[in-house]
Amino acid sequence: MNTFQWFSIPICVGLAIVAFVRRRALPGRAPGMFWVLLWFAAATVIAVPQISTLVARWAGIGRGADLILYVAALSGMLIARYLYCRQRRMEILVTELARREALRNAQRGASPAGYGPNPNSHGLTFEPDDKPE
């Protein structure tokens, strides 16, 4: 085994064990087992790199390194999309929360002496209990 394998295989195996122990914390059985299998597969491919070459040939790619590169690029894009969608959802929620708070505390400007009676009031009020859209 080379130095990289000495370091990375125990880390992957350790993460697989942690994922196995904590799999019940995730809702459903599939997500927990996904992480166990992912870390275990990573440890196996690092320990026996020829596996990636076999899979690459089966998939018609040729080199194991290319297969790893393609999978990494695709995973990166999927993760980026997932995180962006998540961040957008959070952004929309925060905005909606701030908007509700702001609408509840709408203030009416003063009618300074220079203006006389408020010509724009039209008897309108904004009830604090009004729920925004």
Partner: protein
């Protein structure tokens, strides 16, 4: 102020709401609000988390002010103002920038266009009207935005990022701005196109000042805006 704005007829004024999004505009907002009060109608300023006393300055006048607890962006401020105006029973809603670059006199023309053309949206266009002192870089960016909007949304307008626009209640109910930043202008156009409601363009005047130019869109900001719109399109 170049000219005395025409006052909105009293029967229309009670049903008209002008939404003014503002962020750190305490110096310029006074003049803009004075102009709006001369025109008539109801005014709601949405203070988007300013730290310079913009809300206090606005509250010196007989208008409504709502304050975001933090700076969310102009799109978020507009949507808050539109929500508020709809809740208050607005029949016509106008959006108007706080930096004094819009002419309050254009409000009457926008609302009049809605009524005359039985339209639900009247968008101000500086390229049909006038924009003295517009820098050539800004002119070029806005022209590019027009082309980009035509390609992406299929909507053909002469000015895509003009903050002065009017809409009917029915039109406003179709608008739901989710892009908080400056991308909202393109999002509004996309929602207008999707609504299938009638749209007219109205010549307006934009007055550029050192202050409004300093706060306006920069070239780099425009490219960021285009990138965000593209990413958002992919996400959907």
């Amino acid at each position: 102020m170049s000219q005395q704005p025409t006052r909105i007829p009293e029967e229309l004024a009670g049903r008209l709401w002008t939404v003014v999004p503002a962020y750190n505009e305490s110096i310029r907002i006074g003049e803009a609000l004075e102009g709006l009060l001369e025109v008539g109608g109801n005014v709601v300023v949405v203070d988007d988390g300013s730290s310079d006393g913009t809300a206090a300055e606005a509250l010196r006048r007989p208008i409504w002010v709502i304050q975001h607890p933090m700076n969310l962006g102009q799109g978020a401020a507009l949507q808050s103002g539109i929500c508020f105006a709809l809740k208050q029973g607005a029949e016509y809603i106008v959006t108007f920038d706080a930096d004094g670059q819009h002419n309050p006199g254009d409000i009457g023309r926008l609302v009049e266009s809605l009524i005359l053309h039985h339209a639900d949206y009247a968008l101000g266009s500086r390229f049909l009207g006038t924009a003295p002192g517009i820098p050539w870089t800004r002119w070029l960016l806005l022209r590019l935005a027009v082309v980009l909007t035509r390609v992406m949304s299929g909507i053909s307008v002469t000015d895509t990022h003009n903050g002065i626009r009017a809409m009917t209640r029915r039109g406003a109910e179709q608008i739901r701005i989710t892009l908080d930043g400056m991308e909202h202008a393109s999002e509004i156009l996309e929602q207008i196109a999707a609504s299938g409601l009638r749209l007219v363009e109205v010549p307006v005047q934009i007055r550029y000042s050192a202050g409004s130019l300093a706060k306006g869109q920069k070239g780099s900001g425009a490219f960021r805006l285009a990138a965000k719109l593209l990413v958002e399109r992919i996400r959907q």
